[in-house]
């Protein structure tokens, strides 16, 4: 029945795992004095191969009966879209780390290995169609990011960030797991398509509703949507900037993929329940994020609140009907990732790894010190504002367009007014960059742009521009992703765990 070996369904994950193991073992066997920088290149190479492997997966047959090992993983345009996105983000973050991690920093090999292992979890999360695999994948990606958040042990803020993130994150995964348990109790299965099939007939609807609510809490924590956002600014401030570039985008992309799968594929019949809920959370996220960001002086904290606001814009797409909403959300994830990784790359270079220059005021006159970085920073800010011909514009455009198409006009109006509000603080930074430097302050030296960072910036700029000027191909991919998620295969054809009748349980 299955013409391709199961292993091909998880080929990118396998490649990433092998890369991570190789990096870690080499790190352990190399003499301690040897530089570890080349391990980063190995990790980057492995990620690139995984990216190509994901694209190759498009040629695999999709649909019912084609699930991967034991019926737990699917490959479809939807999973490939997010795989490519996540691998791209990881690749850019690795390149960024290569040039910005200090030569003498400890545990470099583990750092690169953890990034790659995190990527394994995220990729698996987007493809899993079995709630227990979902949980395991989420834990793999979360634990890697917990450790990475605390990588700068010497600062004090690093361990604080890691502990905060770990404690709150564990609670969130706990919620998710509890939700899974309740849904298993109601339906007797953890296979997503079977759940979708069984849910309308489930006898104990209050179990189902509680399960849905708990799962949403767990996922919304991961995407840092208000009111589950409190960890975000502290963690972003404490974690090293290259890690923030990664964790503000890739795990979020994976979590949004999971959210899409849960609401559109698992609970499509409960639209009347989750739709108003997500509406409210979207409004809350963008308003809270933008209002608080207005008051921030620290660039990373400001960007943390901005990422909360962007989670809100993205959730607006969930008001869209069916595949248009999914496509809009997927596209927005990509656009947001491109510009956010880019801006964190610039911030890393300007503020420095130790963040001696973390405030908006420190960015003053950047364009005079380094026209390249100043110009790039303004470019990414312009994209975050959502000015046309950048990825940020089309992201917002599709998201709100989906919302309007789904009848949520007020959501679109609130969202666009919010983006006006957001322009105020993005511009504050942009104007500081364009402002004349203060005379009395000795000018900080212009940051150097190395080859790896240059490549990372180039990728981010190219992605932002492509998404803004010729978004056609990416949009088609997103729409294909939307269609595959919209059309769940008939549950009877799905292999895997034998269907258990909940009424026959003891």
């Amino acid at each position: 029945m299955n013409p391709v070996p199961d292993i091909f369904r998880i080929l990118p994950e396998v490649i990433l795992t092998l890369t991570g193991v190789a990096v870690m073992l080499t790190d352990a066997t190399l003499p301690p004095a040897w530089p570890r920088r080349s391990l980063g290149w190995v990790a980057a190479l492995g990620t690139t191969v995984a990216l190509w492997a994901s694209l190759w997966q498009l040629s695999l047959p999709t649909g019912a009966g084609y699930f991967g090992p034991y019926g737990t993983v699917e490959t479809s345009p939807f999973t490939v879209f997010f795989h490519v996105l996540i691998c791209g983000i990881v690749l850019v973050s690795l390149l960024l780390s290569l040039d910005t991690l200090p030569e003498d920093s400890h545990h470099q090999g583990e750092y690169y290995a953890l990034i790659v292992f995190g990527a394994v979890g995220m990729c698996l999360l987007t493809g899993a169609v079995e709630l227990l695999v979902v949980f395991v994948a989420l834990e793999i990606s979360s634990i890697a990011t917990y450790v990475l958040a605390g990588y700068r042990k010497q600062t004090g803020r690093g361990p604080e960030a890691a502990i905060k993130y770990f404690l709150l994150g564990s609670f969130a995964t706990g919620f998710l797991l509890y939700g899974v348990a309740l849904i298993f109790g109601a339906t007797g299965t953890t296979q997503i398509y079977q759940i979708a099939h069984l849910l309308p007939g489930a006898q104990n609807q209050s179990f189902v509703l509680a399960g849905l609510g708990l799962m949403l809490v767990g996922i919304l924590f991961k995407v840092s949507a208000a009111p589950f956002h409190v960890w975000t600014p502290d963690v972003y401030e404490g974690a090293p900037s290259p890690v923030v570039a990664l964790m503000s985008t890739a795990p979020k992309a994976a979590a949004f993929a999971l959210l899409l799968r849960v609401v559109y594929e698992m609970f499509p019949t409960f639209r009347s329940v989750w739709s108003p809920l997500l509406w409210a959370i979207a409004v809350l996220s963008m308003t809270v994020g933008n209002l608080v960001a207005l008051r921030q002086q620290n660039v990373k904290r400001m960007l943390a609140y901005s990422s909360i606001a962007h989670a809100g814009y993205l959730l607006a797409a969930f008001a869209g009907l069916g595949s248009s909403g999914i496509a809009a959300a997927a596209f927005y994830t990509a656009a947001y990732a491109a510009m956010n990784v880019g801006i964190f790359a610039v911030v890393t270079l300007v503020a420095g790894y130790d963040e001696k220059l973390p405030l908006i005021e420190d960015f003053r006159g950047l364009i005079y010190r380094s026209p390249l970085l100043g110009g790039l920073l303004i470019f990414f800010l312009v994209s975050l504002v959502g000015i046309p011909f950048t990825g940020g514009f089309f992201g917002k455009f599709y998201s709100f367009s989906a919302a309007v198409g789904g009848g949520a006009i007020w959501l679109a109006i609130i969202g666009l007014l919010n983006s006006g509000l957001a322009a105020a603080y993005y511009l504050r930074l942009a104007l500081a960059v364009a402002n004349r430097p203060l005379e009395q302050k000795p000018a900080a030296p212009a940051p150097q742009v190395g080859v790896a960072v240059g490549a990372a910036l180039l990728l981010a700029v190219a992605a932002t521009l492509v998404l803004g000027i010729v978004p056609g191909d990416v949009l088609r991919a997103a729409q294909a992703a939307g269609h595959t998620l919209q059309a769940p295969p008939a549950p009877s054809a799905a292999p895997g765990a034998a269907l258990m009748d909940p009424h026959q349980l003891p």
Partner: protein
Amino acid sequence: MTTIDQSILTWILLVPLAGALLVALAPDRGKLSNWIALLTTLATLGLTLHLPAHFVLGQSGFQFEINRIWIDNPAIAYHVGVDGLSLWLVVLVGLLAPVGVVASWNAIQSRRKIFFALFLVQQTAMLGVFLSLDLMVYYGFWELSLVPMAILIAMYGRKDGPKAALKFFLFTFIPSAPLLVAILWLYAQTHTFDFTTLQIYITHGLIPAAPLCWVALAFLFAFAVKVPVFPLHGWVADTYSEAPVALAMVVAGKLGLYSMLRFHIGLFPEQARAVAPYLVALAVIGILYGACLALVQRDFWRLAAFAALSHLSLITLGIYGLTFTGWDGAVYQILNHGVVDGALFLLLGALYDRYATSQINSYGGLAVKLPRTATVFVITSLAIIGLPMLNGFVGEFLILSSTFTGVSRGWAIAATLGVILGAAYMLWLVQRLFYGPESELALSRPPEDLHLGQLAVVWPLAVLMLVMGLAPSLWLPSIEKGIHPPKPKSADAALPYIATQTALPISSPVEGQR
């Protein structure tokens, strides 16, 4: 149609952009950026002049049209074209660009590269606004025009650039949020962003009318801030006093007024008719308010800002009087305003560069020292006032007479009063700057009159003022062509110009929606 006619609009959009790229890539050495920018803007002007030369007067609808699919779903097309309404506005943008470059020639001393690159991007954005016939592309250029403007005000502001830039940006960015929602709503209803198609849908009443009135209001709000219409003018004074001369010339007026005619009245004639009385009232208030404030300003940039508010309100009056004559006058006056404001700002900028102050009190008695500046300044002022035989007269006369006969005598009289006040503040400005006893300021610097480059720009503008005043028939027929419907139903109450090219599609617009 020759090949060049089929691609000319793309070239007009691409040449300034290519120039911007060239400036950005070329080294920042000496005046290299200035020269590249000047050549680019002259080339663009040449290309825009191709349009009136090959414009077919007898043909209705859009000409030089290009309509290519850009993104298939959602259906966004690269659809550009000109008609009588936008034809001369495109030429005006082309004309003012070299003027702006010359005005910045010596004024911009540092970071020339950034300045001219962004100036050329701004140029593309403005041309794009006038040329786009797809609402999404139009919105794109509309938003894009804000960014270079804000950055340049922040970088080159005279006193507090960043603050003025933020004010300008927020004032113009926030109203475009409802505009985008309105455009998206139209798309959700019709599945098209195309201007002509939407026009057909709306004139045939295929879109529910109740929400349409909100959509029209959202459009109007965005445009009214950009013009500006009283009481949405909060950004104007700061922007004019901080913006570099080259940008102050282009910031106000044209984009908003054109958009009102094309996209507010053009798309939503019924809704525009409903709000027109209010806009007439606001316009008259704006004329008087702007003129009164201009009378008491001590800083000539702020005086110019409030004078602009007054003049732009007059044009708004012409537009929302909803008469053909008023529309002709309004479009003609947009052109006039562009030309005279270009000259005025160039001259004020030259004074500011030389004497480094914009306080009117410090000046005086300059006419002897700077005879050439004084001469052109007086001509420009007379054109602004609306002296017969100069261009301001034609536009003002058309607008005021149409208001008198077609709208209301009371408003027309009040507006005329504002025009008289306009004469007062302009002549008083001329007197305080150029006549009277020689001020310390005038004695403190060696007299340096306009240099050759400035003269080469400012005299053609002055001649243009005279020609446009004497022979409006060179412009008005093509403008009328763009504004008037093919068969006017009644002479005075203007009905919307209805697109005639395509028959009504048979399928329902809401088809395909879930």
